[in-house]
Amino acid sequence: METALQIASAIKAGEASAVEVTQKHLALAKENEDLGVFLNLMEEDALATAKRIDETPDSDKQNLGPLAGVPVALKDNLCTEAVETTCASKILSGWRPPYDASVVKKLKQSDAVIIGKTNLDEFAMGSSTENSAFFPTRNPRNPEYVPGGSSGGSAAAVAAGFSPIALGSDTGGSIRQPAALCGVVGMKPTYGRVSRYGLIAFASSLDQIGPFTTDVSDAALMLQVIGGHDENDSTSIPDATPDYLESLKDQDISNLKVGVVRELSQGVSPDVSARLKEAADVLAAAGCGVEEVSVPATKYGLSAYYLIAPAEASSNLSRYDGVRYGLRETADNAEEMNIATRTKGFGDEVKRRIMLGTFALSSGYYDDYYVKAQRVRTLTINDFATAYEKFDVLLSPTSPFTAFKFGEKTADPLAMYLCDACTIPSSLAGHPAISVPFGVGDNDMPVGIQVLAPALGEMNIFRISSVLEREAPI
């Protein structure tokens, strides 16, 4: 499988044709349609973009962007101008946004070839992609298993080789967990590192866009391309995005201290624990100081998250009222129309979270639930800060278990929520984290190791995870 860096470099050198590269990836995606990866395969648009790249005179090809001719898949909650964007929800079915998300603009400016929009749990709410209103996505490594979620389509696109890179969004683990379950690299950058303009909002204080790739270098390249301040997102960080690729050239990590988070290593299935131990040993052998560390508040992350995220979602999703876009059910008056539209347009998990959030924000419960969860969020940030006084990065499993089978957790929402127990704490803190593939579990499905760092600590995450990637068991 070729990486984005390899493809772009071959195309810039005039050694490869973007049309041929695109055709090859599209053909593979079409042959494997039953994996349910794409909601919309953008064949014509992709080939037109590729053709334009090939028509660049050879003498100018070195001036093409860093993703020249590289096929990329986009989670279908990222707005693409005039191309249907659904969030895998019936309520947005058929909606064609009038503008591109800022990350989509940046990909186009980098001469990437957008090949399609990928499946997700409706409005990014879920951990298995079974909540898509259209069809589930299957894990390319074994189609009897789920790919994780909510960005299951983007993770599967990269795992199946339909595109070397893809974008997803991560609110409580929606990039890292499917990356772990599909055996690819998935990164959630620092909150604000990447503009959220044009990402359809789920929980605005947690949402962050990030890449899926086959290796760590491509993740560094992608973050360099999509990172940076955007005047259309006032929460985007003003600092310049560092040259992450350059930093990967220094492979000596012996100056870094690694803490294995005790609370996030408990309640984890034994096969995943075994891989975590091996990962810690790899880093110790590379010269890092490795020790166990307690970050007490992380064990309350799940509780705080499932009050905060639904609260924000209940507010964000109030805009789907049948007036400006998407579905409208007919009714005699406006209020009945709103109710009929939302009742028909949203699936069960979305309804559940809207109700949970509405409850947490409602009069009489607000202080006991929403505000209390926000205080736990502060506690999480403080406990991480204490750990980072001593350690440069922290280590944990990405998911407490490897991929599971369809229907295994759909009847019990709480069982599904537990998939995110290890990824949620850094989301609450707004910190960056990556999932790197590291061997397999008892069911022969991939295990992901999570590397966490404080805000803007992506550089150390890349350095540590490239060592894990190099030393990972086959």
Binding site: A82, W95, P98, Y191, G192, S205, S234, T235, I237, K299, Y300, L302, S303, A304, Y306, L307, S314, S318, D321, G322, V323, R324, Y325, L327, R328, T330, A331, D332, N333, A334, E336, M337, N338, I339, A340, R342, T343, K351, R352, M355, L356, T358, F359, Y365, D368, V371, K372, A373, R375, V376, T378, L379, I381, P413, L414, Y417, L428, A429, H431, A455
Partner: protein, 114 residues
Amino acid sequence: MTAEITPDIAAKVANLSRLKLTDEELAKFTDQLSAILEHAADIEALDLEGVLPTSHPYPLKNVFRQDVVSQGATSDGNDTEKNSGEKIAAFKSSVLGVAPESEDGQFKVPPILS
């Protein structure tokens, strides 16, 4: 804390959320929401006296931009050509074009008072 979700509370929340539930759905959601809140009761025991709530993880404040007139989503920096009347009209029609119903350049809804 430890509010129990009763069918009455669930029905009230559904109404506030502008959702209509069947009796079967109401029973199911009542149970599921109760189970989720029961799990969340673990934060009840925490002493959070004096801990301030966090609403936003990254300390940014007073984010200013240049005070220049632009045309919202049609604007592309200060490129006045792109903000021309024609562009604005095209954008307006692309927005209204995907609305369920519009008339005379405006969104149209059923009667609000009936």
